[in-house]
Amino acid sequence: MIRHLIATASLLLGTAGLAACGGSEAAPDPSTYPTKIEKGSTLKIYSWADYISTDNIAAFEKETGVKVQVDTYASAEEALAKLRLTQGTSGYDLVVMDGSYIQQLVKGGSLLAWDKERLPGFAGLSDTFVGRSWDPENTHAIPKSGGSTGYVWDSAVISTPPETWNDFYDAFDDPGVDGRTSVVDGAPSLISSYFWGNDISDQTTNPDDYQAAEKYFDDKVLSHLKAFNSYPRADLASGDLVLAQTFTGDARGALMDGPKTLRFALGAPKTDIYVDHWVLPKGSANIAAAHAFVEFVLDPVNAARETEFHGYYTGVEASRDELPADMPFEEIVFFDEGVPADRFIEQEVTEARKQSVATFQRLKALASR
C-alpha cells in the first residue's frame, strides 16, 4: 500500500515537475514578451487584501482599458506553496510576494524575468529596497513596498526608552509591564531578534545558538508575555499592551490610534527588512499589462497614492515629495531615513529556517505551561 502511494505521489509530483521543466527549458527572453496592452483584457493580481490603492486601480483601468481583478491570500506562505505547486497554472498574471521567498520561486522555475526596459520607473527606487540578496539584480522581483521590525512602548509606563533588542527584552521584567507585552507570532521575527541583538547571524545552523536563544527567551520573556501577536495594533491602542515587538506598518497604526504616550523605535543594533515584490508567475497570460501596471505604480504620484492607501513606503524616492506634509508618523513610514544600510538584514529562507521554527514552536509550548 505504502509503496503504491509513493508511486502515485512520485507520479503526480513528477507530472508537476515535468511541466516545470517543459516551461523552464524555454524560459522566454523578456525582450520577446508581447508588448501590446490589450484593451478589454483582464490583469489578474494575487496579493494581500487592501494592499493596492483602489484609486490607482481605477485610474489604471481608465488609462489602459484593462480590467484589474484582485484576489487575496490569507498568508504569503500559502501563496508560495500555491505558486510552487501549480507551476504555471495558477492563473494569476501578477503576484505580490514577500522577498524572502523569491529565491525558492526562482530556483523552482516558478517565475518569469521582468523586462526592465519597460520599467524605467525602477531607477527611482531607493537603495534600501533594490539589489537585496533575495534577488540581487532584481531580475524576477520588483519592490512594491516594505518595512522593518522594532518595538512600541508606552512612555507613561516605561521611562527608559529601549535602544536595543536586549534593552527591549530587559524591560519585560518591569513590574508595570508584566503581562501587558507581546511579540510577533513568527520564528523569523522572534528568534532572529535574539541573534540581531547579540551579533549572531540569523542564518546560523549551529544548534548551540538556538539553545541559547531558547534559554534567553525562556528566562527573560515567556513568563511576562501576554500573547504571540503579529498585529498588536489594536491592543496597543486600547492600552491592553504597553510593550510589543511590532512591524513598522502596525506600529504606525498603533501610534495613530492610541494614546499620545506610545513610542516606536527600530530594532538595534540590527533588525530585518521585509519587502513585498511584484513577481511575474510562470504562465502569466497578460505580461504586457503586468509591466504596465508595475510601471504605473512606480510613478512618483501613483506611488504616493499607494503609501497613503496602505501606509507603507514604496521605495520610490520621488514619491515623498508628492505626499502631504502632515502625514502622521512619516518617520515610521520612511523607516530607512538616516539609518545606516547595514542595520537591515534581509529575511531569507535557508536550512536555518527549520531550526528557527522548531525553536519557536518549542518556546510556544513552554509558554503555555
Binding site: 484576489d71 505547486l85 510556544k364 505551561r369
Partner: protein
C-alpha cells in the same frame, strides 16, 4: 408447493442475491471520499517518509524513504501542545454538550410555533457571521479596556482575553451549534406522549428527563460530542485569537510546520501522529462509554434516579414543579441567546465605527457601509462564498445523507469501515487535505481547474462527514424493522429509502445543511490554498485584512451577509410553506 411457500422462497432467493444491507447508500460516500480525500491526503501522508527541500520543483524528496521524520515529530514540543489541546478539547466538548442539552430540550419539548422557530434561528444565525469576526469580537468586547470593562467600571479588565479561559470561552462559543442541533434532532424523535405517559405514571419531571428524555437524546449527544471534539482538536485560530500564550495547540504546530517552516515531510509526520492519537482517544472514549453502559445496566434495577429523590405521594403537585422547571429553562434559553448574540451585536455596533480600523472606536458613522460597493474584492468574495457554500452543502447533503443512512442501518463491516473513513476525514488537519487536493488538481489539469469547483469539492469533503454524523444521530435509534416492514410490504430498497427513511431523516438533513453551510462559510485554509482567479472567499479576504489593520467594510458586509442569508432562508421557508410542501421548512428542521 403452496403459494405462500413459493413467495417466501422467492423472497429468500432475493435476499441472498441482494447486496449487503447498507452497501448501496454507502457507495457514493466511499467513492467520493476515496477520490477527493484518501488519494490526496494519502499522498501527503507519504511525504512523511521523505525529506523536505526548499529549492527545486518538488517540495519533498522521496528518494530515500525513512521514518526519521516521525522521530522528529514525536518531540517534547508535540507532547506539550497535544496535552494542551486535549485539555481544551475535552473541557470544551463537555461544556458544549452540557450547555446544549437544556437548550435542545427547551427547543424540542417546551417551545411551540413562532417561539420554537425563533429559538432555532437565534442559535443558527450568529454562525453565518464569519468565524474570524465572531471570534475576534470577543476580544473587542472583553478586552481589558473594552466597552464592557469600561461600561461596568471594571478597572484592569476581566482578565479573560489572552488566557486559557479566553480560549475555552472561544471554543465553546464557536462550536455550540454543532452540539445543539444534533441533540435537538435526536430529542425531537421522542414522542411527547412518552414523556406524558411517564408523568401520568407519577414520575417527576426530573425523572422523566433522566429516564425517558436523556436516553432518547443519547445518539444526539454522542454525535454532538464527536462533532465538537474533533474540530476542536484541530482548531488553532480560536486559541490563537483568544488564548494568548497560554493556548498553544497542536493544530498550530502542524500548520506552521507546513507553512512557516515549509517542512512538509515533518508536517505530514506530525499530522499522521495527530490523526492516530485522536483516533486512539476516540477509541478509548468509546470503550469507556461501553463500559459505563454495562455498569449502568447492572445497577439500573436499583433505580438510582428514584433513589436520589425521596418518594412523595402521588398528591405531590407535579405540575407546579414542572412549571418552575419550564420557567427556569426559558430563563436559561434567554441567557443562552444573549451569549450567542453578544459578539454578533458587538460586530454590528462596531461596523458603524468611524475609526480607521474595526476594533478601535472612533465615533459613529455609516461610512464603512458606504464604502462596501467601492471594494471590488470584498463584493466579489461575498458572492463566491455564498455560491461555494450553497453548492458544497448540496453535494454534502446528498452524499452525507446516504452515508448517514448507511452508518445507521448497514451491517457491521460496512458500518465500521465507513465510520472509520468519515472519522479520518474529520480528524485530518485541513492543511493536509488542502495540499493533497492542490497536488491532485494540478495533476488533473484543465478538468479540475475551475476555482469554484475546486472549492466546492474541498468544502463538501469535510461537510460530508458532518452531514453523515448528524443524520446518523437521528436514524440510529429508529426501529430498524421499519425498512424491513417497508420491504415486506413490497417496497424496493430505493422506495423504502425515499418513503420511509428520508422523511424520518428530514429534520436532521436540514440541521446538517445548516451546519455544512456554516462550515463552508467559515473555511479559510482550504479556500486560500485551493482557490484561483476570481474565487477569493470572504473569510480569506478577512484573514488577509488582519495584516493591514482590519477595516470596517468587511464587518459591515458580513453583517449584511448574515442578515441576508437569514432573510433568504426565512423567505424560502415561507415560499415552501405557501406552496404546501408538506411540512414547512422550519418545521422540518425540528420535525413537527
Amino acid at each position: 408447493m403452496s403459494a405462500v411457500s413459493a413467495v417466501s422462497a422467492a423472497r429468500s432467493v432475493r435476499a441472498r442475491l441482494r447486496a449487503p444491507r447498507g452497501l448501496v447508500p454507502s457507495l457514493p460516500a466511499f467513492a467520493w471520499l476515496c477520490a477527493f480525500f484518501l488519494v490526496p491526503a494519502g499522498m501527503v501522508a507519504v511525504f512523511s517518509l521523505g525529506e523536505s527541500a526548499y529549492f527545486g520543483t518538488s517540495p519533498v524528496d522521496l528518494s530515500a524513504p525513512s521514518l526519521d521524520r516521525y522521530g522528529e515529530a514525536a518531540s517534547e514540543t508535540f507532547r506539550i501542545v497535544f496535552v494542551n489541546t486535549l485539555q481544551i478539547a475535552v473541557v470544551g466538548t463537555v461544556l458544549c454538550v452540557l450547555l446544549a442539552v437544556p437548550m435542545a430540550y427547551l427547543i424540542t419539548t417546551r417551545l411551540t410555533g413562532f417561539w420554537k422557530y425563533a429559538a432555532i434561528a437565534a442559535v443558527v444565525i450568529p454562525y453565518w457571521m464569519p468565524f474570524l469576526l465572531r471570534t475576534y469580537s470577543w476580544r473587542i468586547l472583553l478586552g481589558d479596556h473594552g466597552p464592557l470593562a469600561e461600561g461596568l467600571g471594571v478597572t484592569g479588565g476581566f482578565g479573560i482575553v489572552d488566557t486559557l479561559s479566553g480560549a475555552q470561552l472561544g471554543v465553546v462559543y464557536n462550536y455550540l451549534p454543532l452540539a445543539v442541533l444534533p441533540i435537538a434532532v435526536a430529542l425531537d424523535r421522542l414522542d411527547p406522549a412518552l414523556r406524558q405517559a411517564g408523568r401520568d405514571l407519577g414520575a417527576s419531571s426530573w425523572r422523566v428527563f433522566w429516564q425517558v428524555t436523556l436516553p432518547a437524546a443519547r445518539p444526539g449527544i454522542v454525535g454532538a460530542a464527536l462533532l465538537v471534539f474533533i474540530p476542536l482538536m484541530g482548531d488553532y485560530v480560536t486559541p490563537a485569537v483568544l488564548g494568548g500564550v497560554q493556548a498553544s495547540v497542536v493544530g498550530s504546530l502542524v500548520s506552521s510546520s507546513f507553512l512557516e517552516s515549509q517542512d512538509w515531510a515533518l508536517g505530514a509526520a506530525a499530522a499522521v501522529l495527530l490523526i492516530l492519537l485522536v483516533l486512539a482517544v476516540l477509541a478509548a472514549a468509546a470503550l469507556a462509554l461501553a463500559l459505563g453502559r454495562l455498569v449502568l445496566r447492572a445497577v439500573r434495577p436499583l433505580d438510582l434516579a428514584a433513589r436520589l429523590r425521596p418518594r412523595t405521594g402521588t398528591a405531590r403537585p407535579a405540575r407546579v414543579s414542572g412549571d418552575a422547571w419550564g420557567l427556569l429553562l426559558r430563563g436559561y434559553g434567554v441567557l443562552m441567546v444573549l451569549f450567542l448574540w453578544a459578539p454578533i451585536l458587538t460586530i454590528l455596533v462596531y461596523s458603524f465605527n468611524d475609526g480607521r480600523t474595526l476594533p478601535v472606536w472612533g465615533g459613529a458613522s455609516t461610512r464603512w457601509y458606504a464604502a462596501i460597493p467601492d471594494n471590488a474584492v470584498l463584493m466579489q468574495s461575498i458572492g463566491v462564498s455564498l455560491r461555494v457554500a450553497a453548492l458544497s452543502t448540496l453535494v454534502a447533503i446528498v452524499v452525507g445523507t446516504l452515508a448517514g443512512t448507511a452508518l445507521a442501518r448497514a451491517g457491521r463491516p460496512i458500518r465500521w469501515s465507513l465510520l472509520g473513513l468519515l472519522l479520518v476525514v474529520f480528524v485530518t488537519p485541513e492543511i493536509v487535505t488542502s495540499i493533497g487536493l492542490l497536488l491532485m488538481y494540478v495533476a488533473a489539469g484543465p478538468a479540475l481547474s475551475d476555482g469554484t469547483l475546486r472549492l466546492v469539492i474541498a468544502h463538501a469533503v469535510i461537510s460530508t462527514a458532518i452531514v453523515a454524523f448528524v443524520v446518523q444521530a437521528r436514524l440510529s435509534s429508529l426501529d430498524p424493522r421499519l425498512s424491513d416492514a417497508a420491504a415486506d410490504l413490497g417496497a424496493t430498497p430505493a422506495g423504502a429509502f425515499r418513503r420511509v427513511i428520508l422523511p424520518l431523516a428530514a429534520p436532521a438533513v436540514l440541521a446538517a445543511a445548516v451546519l455544512a453551510s456554516t462550515a463552508s462559510l467559515d473555511d479559510v485554509v482550504a479556500s486560500s490554498m485551493l482557490g484561483n482567479v476570481g474565487t477569493t472567499t470572504l473569510p480569506v479576504y478577512i484573514y488577509s485584512t488582519l495584516r493591514n489593520g482590519m477595516r470596517g467594510d468587511a464587518a459591515a458586509a458580513s453583517v449584511l451577509m448574515m442578515l441576508g442569508t437569514a432573510l433568504a432562508v426565512v423567505v424560502l421557508a415561507w415560499v415552501m410553506q405557501r406552496r404546501g410542501q408538506g411540512k414547512s421548512f422550519a418545521a422540518g428542521l425540528v420535525g413537527r
